[in-house]
């Protein structure tokens, strides 16, 4: 349309736009609904006439709004499209062949959009949609049917059958040459040629292929430490990284690994290492981000069950269990495997996966063949040496054994008991830690031979083999050259023994669980859909006979999934070990998603609805409807906003104090004392602002009777005999303040009097009077190493207006005897600091910034020291014992440095 890529599905509806002027006129003549009002003197209005009854008072912009909404509605109904739809080449029916096997699951949405676009272009023509997987329609479809089928079309979890599609195509009779489209998955297969031939009969075909070809995950192989994964892809092009993961029962990722396709390669290998328990919790492995049934490998559930059979000829087992081989094997294996005991024949009947022979020298002839058969089919035979073995064994051992044993560390032997040497890289025990206390005192010896060296999984420190193994068929024969009980070595007493047996268990293939459960036919339990998601099995999926399960291929009859009974489920996977993916050898492939036309209908409808809603709101307002309730709500909200914060704050002082960290003093109620406190803290504030990063606002006076003390880190409390004793309520507040980390500097202000008036000066008496009810901690004079002496300046004494008085703080725990740290702070800050040097006077400045008193006897130098004490004190109250830790920093760093250097 005019070069702009806009088209309409049903352009006829656009003629409704012609009706807009009529709508305009109608809207103009229809009077708006009257505003309603109650009116008591209604009687007096009776019979009155207003001259004009046609109030065309609808504002022009409201009319315009409504017309716009109507126009949008009409445009939306005309099904507008932005973008170009694909042009069909011929005039005949549209025929779509869609690859919807599992390989088509990737980019499925793009494919469906393309189908929708093609259908839109073919408006009116008959359509045939032929999926390669799933049922094929016999006749041509009309538009609606085609749209419905497109919506229902899904990728199927089995390979598509292109030959069948070709046959279906051949059955159609088209009146006109059809427009053929093949929506491929980009993968070549045996049926492609047949389909291509079918296309040729009708002329050309347009091909579409996804930009990314699908990936497949080959069946995983278990090994001793986890899963080996192999992913495959179709085109051996650029290098590609994919993520693959092991998923648990609820779809949680247990482990993940990265598979890397090298340039020009179609296979990528990877390995996922998992502990045994987690491995058993794994239900499926999948390529992340690849939504396809072929990128999922389900694992047999219950396959991890391994049963071990223990055979012992040792008769003493019941009498002395601690000396019995069986006892140790059972203890080691029982957490990891099902244990069965008995004779060899009996055990093999039970379909065990690991057979343990403790000190069985010779297997009877009848059992011999069965054991061989067992091993070659994937069983693991583990043999232990013992008294009987020393006299020679049968030949089902990895290496030939010498008759007689070897004693180490006995009275007659030269050599000491041997330790194990570290495992070699090829040994399955590689990585296990060898405890130092494991020693071997007796063993059977292998005949030295070339292969004995290769078959050794563990050896003693002197190089003699301790554990040898040999593969036989798909199973293993493993020989421990020492006994299963601690008679010959301390190995059975160590954790290493358990770990070794655990790894040997993992060697076995395990008996298929379905055979253990004795099921004859396996019904579907949970199936995969085309995207690789689990779904409940539909009713038309047939059970699979247990015997032929391993030969069953995935097909529409047998979709991939888990078959069996609860907890004993066998997995049927799409991709098999021999499967490969080949790219479709066509050069004229178009990518999906290039020709997508965007439908504008929903947006226009939404816009029209929004306009109509707006119109409704405006009409309500014009009619005089005031959302009174809303106003109420906002009033209530406003009240909350305005009132609640004020309700919280206890007053202007608390509010101010809460907004900043203020220095504070306790108001005594005596004007002279309070003014000195105020001026003193003001002076200290100046100094703090000038010298430190703490910039206190003006100090506040607090009244413990009324104010909230918790907002201040430090309180200065001058003592004066005239002061009133605080009320019990105030005392409990002060106690709370000190308990919760506040610091109070009690200043008796009368050090000079101390010598004259004896030990209890008026200030001290006042202090006692005021604080008798308080639970003060034990005090001590500030020790030289107290953190208060180091928080900002290094100080030795703490002068104020007077000099020389003692400063008391909470007693610290005694310094450690050896190497006292350079500063001690205890935990937290001292709640009480008591002194008598009248600091406030020393700090006090008047409103012009002049000092108000002269310190005695030291003069200005003493004042400087007083300020330093003040700064130290504030820092102490603000930082707590942080400074005490900081002084340890060099020592800590030194220790850390020492750690790194090996000694």
């Amino acid at each position: 349309m005019f070069g702009f890529p806009l088209s309409f599905g049903t352009p006829l509806i656009l003629t409704a736009l012609l009706a807009l002027p009529v709508l305009w006129w109608l809207l103009r003549v229809t009077p708006p609904l009257p505003r309603r009002t109650l009116f008591p003197p209604l009687r007096l209005l009776r019979g009155l006439q207003d001259e004009e009854q046609t109030p065309a008072k609808t504002p022009w912009w409201l009319l315009l709004l409504r017309l716009l909404a109507a126009a949008l509605l009409i445009l939306a109904l005309a099904d507008p499209l932005l973008g170009r739809s694909p042009k069909l080449m011929t005039t005949g029916p549209l025929v779509l062949v869609v690859d919807n096997g599992w390989t088509g699951a990737r980019d499925w949405e793009a494919r469906q959009e393309l189908i929708t676009d093609l259908l839109r272009s073919a408006r009116g023509r008959p359509v045939a949609i032929i999926p390669t997987a799933g049922s094929v329609p016999t006749g041509l479809l009309n538009e609606g049917e085609a749209a419905r089928i497109t919506r229902e079309l899904k990728p199927m979890p089995w390979p598509g059958d292109r030959a069948a599609a070709a046959a279906a195509l051949g059955r159609f009779n088209f009146a006109a040459p059809p427009a053929l489209y093949w929506l491929t998955d980009g993968i070549d297969d045996a049926g492609s040629k047949a389909l291509r031939d079918a296309f040729k009969r009708y002329g050309g075909v347009s091909l579409f292929a996804p930009t990314h070809s699908p990936l497949g995950l080959l069946p995983v192989t278990r090994d001793a430490s986890g899963f080996s994964l192999t992913a495959i892809r179709a085109n051996a092009g650029a290098p590609q990284d994919v993520e693959a993961g092991a998923l648990g029962v609820r779809g949680e990722t247990l482990a993940a690994t990265r598979l890397h396709f090298k340039r020009g390669e179609t296979r990528a290998q990877g390995h996922i290492s998992l502990p045994m328990e987690v491995r058993n919790a794994t239900t499926r492995l999948a390529i992340a981000g690849e939504e396809s049934a072929g990128a999922v490998q389900l694992l047999d559930r219950g396959a991890a069950q391994r049963s071990a059979g223990i055979v012992s000829e040792n008769a003493s087992s019941e009498a002395q269990p601690i000396l019995s081989d069986v006892y140790y094997l059972e203890r080691a294996l029982s957490p990891y495997a099902e244990i069965a005991k008995g004779g060899i024949g009996q055990l093999l009947d039970k379909r065990i996966s690991v057979l343990l022979l403790a000190d069985v020298a010779k297997i009877n002839g009848a059992d011999m063949d069965r054991v061989k058969d067992f091993v070659s089919k994937g069983g693991v035979l583990i043999r232990f040496a013992g008294e009987r073995t020393t006299n020679g064994t049968d030949d089902l051992v990895p290496v030939k054994l010498r008759v007689g044993g070897r004693y180490l560390g006995s009275a007659m032997a030269w050599s000491a008991p041997q330790h194990l040497s570290p495992f070699t890289a090829t040994s399955p025990f590689n990585g296990l830690e060898i405890p130092a206390e494991v020693t071997v005192t007796r063993q059977v010896l292998a005949e030295p031979s070339a292969e004995a060296q290769n078959r050794t999984w563990a050896q003693l420190a002197d190089g003699t083999p301790l554990i040898t193994a040999q593969a036989m068929g798909s199973g293993w024969i493993v020989m421990f050259h020492t006994s299963a009980s601690p008679g010959w070595s301390t190995l059975p007493l160590s954790g290493l023994y358990v770990d070794m047996l655990k790894r040997l268990l993992a060697l076995s293939a395990g008996t298929p669980a379905r055979e253990l459960a004795g099921l004859t036919s396996l019904p579907p339990v949970s199936l995969l859909d085309g995207f690789g998601h689990a779904m409940a099995p539909p009713s038309d999926v047939a059970p699979i006979p247990a015997k032929g399960f391993s030969r069953v291929r995935v097909s529409p009859r047998h979709p991939p999934g888990l078959y069996g009974a609860h907890e004993v489920e066998s997995a049927l996977n799409i991709v098999r070990a021999e499967d490969r993916l080949r790219p479709l050898p066509d050069s004229s492939l178009q990518a999906y998603g290039n020709t997508h036309a965007r439908a504008l209908e929903p947006y226009l409808l939404a816009a029209a609805m929004a306009l109509l809603l707006l119109d409704a709101l405006i009409s309500l307002l014009l009619r005089g409807f005031t959302p009174r309730k809303l106003r109420w709500a906002s009033a209530v909200l406003l009240t909350f906003v305005l009132v609640v914060p004020q309700a919280r704050a206890q007053g202007p002082i608390s509010e101010k104090a809460a907004l900043d960290t203020h220095l504070a003093y306790v108001k005594t109620g005596l004007a002279d004392v309070d003014s000195v406190s105020q001026a003193g803290l003001t002076g200290l504030s100046y100094m703090l602002r000038a010298r430190t990063s703490y910039e206190p606002p003006e100090p506040l006076g607090v009244d413990p009777e009324r104010d909230d003390l918790s907002l201040y880190p430090l309180l200065y409390w001058p003592m004066d005999p005239r002061a009133k004793t605080p009320s019990p309520k105030a005392l409990s507040r002060i106690a709370d303040y000190m308990r919760n980390g506040g610091t109070i500097l009690f200043d008796t202000r009368d050090f000079t009097l101390g010598a004259v008036r004896g030990p209890s000066s008026p200030g001290e008496q006042t202090l006692r009077r005021l604080t008798t009810a308080l639970d003060l901690p034990p005090l001590e004079p500030v020790p030289a190493d107290h953190v208060l002496t180091k928080t900002f300046y290094i100080l030795r004494d703490f002068p104020g207006r007077w000099s020389g008085g003692k400063l008391w703080v909470e007693a610290l725990p005694p310094a450690p005897k050896n190497g006292a740290p350079p500063a001690r702070g205890g935990d937290g800050v001292s709640p009480v600091i008591v002194g008598g040097n009248d600091w406030a006077s020393a700090w006090a400045v008047d409103s012009n910034g002049r000092f108000m008193s002269t310190p005695s006897p030291g003069g200005e130098l003493q004042r400087e020291m007083a300020f330093r004490f003040g700064i130290n004190l504030v820092m102490y109250a603000l930082t707590g014992n942080y400074k005490a830790d900081v002084v340890h920093a060099p020592a800590l760093l030194q220790r850390l440095g020492n750690e790194r250097v090996p000694q």
Partner: protein
């Protein structure tokens, strides 16, 4: 009840600033004291009026022995006949009175004025009562409380019930007097000898008619409505009618010798209270 208490409180506050009312000041030149208004003739009362020679119908207990002992004759002490005024109140409680265009409904304003006036009168010693209330009118706080209860229990009737008014009783009648049947009721009450004081409560919207545009007017009593395409066009004629109606009420009252005051709910109640107090005191 709390609603009433609040109202009573507000009414008390409102009346506090006004001088106590004296009903029938012409009868009461001598007794300036509050409450009791001497009739200046012998009767039932407490104040001394005169001594008079004993006559045979007098009871012997009426003899004032002290006065008699002073002379030859026997004297009887007579007291002044004192009588308090009885003022009845009525307030229209119909749905029309619940109308408000501003903050206050007409009914709420009427209630306030009523109680304020009653409070004043009680302070002046008058007996007050609400027509239809239980018990007789009394000159006490209790009477006020009883009135309040009766007011809030009075239902939604527009016209005062026909209580046994005595001749000379006063009736203060708060209403909007918009209905036609008030005139008949006024006549009937007047025939029973009631002296009426009409208080017309008017909402500003009723007087000013501030409506414009397409408006549908509905009666608060429901059932009736009137639509105007342009309400502002009928404003002038409505105002004329409304004023005429007001004059008609005033004339009807004047014809019966009653007073009529008008109170707009957007005006301060004090002014009207003073006017009312003057009106009642003037009779």
């Amino acid at each position: 009840m709390t609603q009433f208490s609040a109202l009573q409180h507000e009414a008390d506050g409102l009346s506090a600033g006004l001088p106590p009312l004296m009903v029938e000041a012409d009868h009461l030149a001598a007794s300036v004291s509050l409450g009791v208004h001497g009739k200046r003739r012998a009767g039932i009362g407490e104040s001394f009026w005169q001594f008079r020679r004993y006559a045979s119908p007098d009871a012997s207990s009426a003899i004032d022995w002290r006065q008699s002992a002073k002379s030859q004759h026997i004297f009887v002490r007579e007291r002044e006949w004192e009588a308090a005024q009885t003022v009845w109140f009525w307030r229209d409680a119909s749905a029309n009175m619940s109308f408000k265009s501003g903050a206050v409904t007409k009914r709420a304003r009427a209630d306030l004025l009523l109680l304020a006036l009653a409070s004043l009168l009680v302070r002046g010693g008058e007996r007050v009562g609400f027509t239809g209330m239980e018990g007789a009118p009394a000159a006490s706080r209790l009477a006020l409380t009883r009135m309040g209860r009766a007011m809030f229990a009075s239902g939604r009737s527009a016209l005062p019930p026909l209580v046994p008014f005595s001749r000379g009783n006063q009736l203060v009648w708060f209403s909007d007097f918009l209905d036609e049947d008030v005139f008949d009721a006024m006549k009937m009450l007047s025939q029973r000898g009631v002296e009426g004081h009409l208080v017309r409560i008017v909402d500003p919207a009723e007087e000013d008619f501030p409506y414009s545009g397409r408006t549908r007017f509905e009666s608060p009593r429901g059932g009736e409505d009137e639509i105007f395409g342009r309400a502002e066009r009928v404003r002038a004629s409505y105002r004329t009618r409304f004023t005429a109606h007001g004059e008609r009420v005033a004339q009807a009252a004047a014809k019966l010798g009653w007073t009529c005051t008008v109170h707009r709910t957007d005006h301060a109640p004090q002014a009207s209270l003073i006017a009312l107090h003057a009106a009642i005191g003037g009779t």
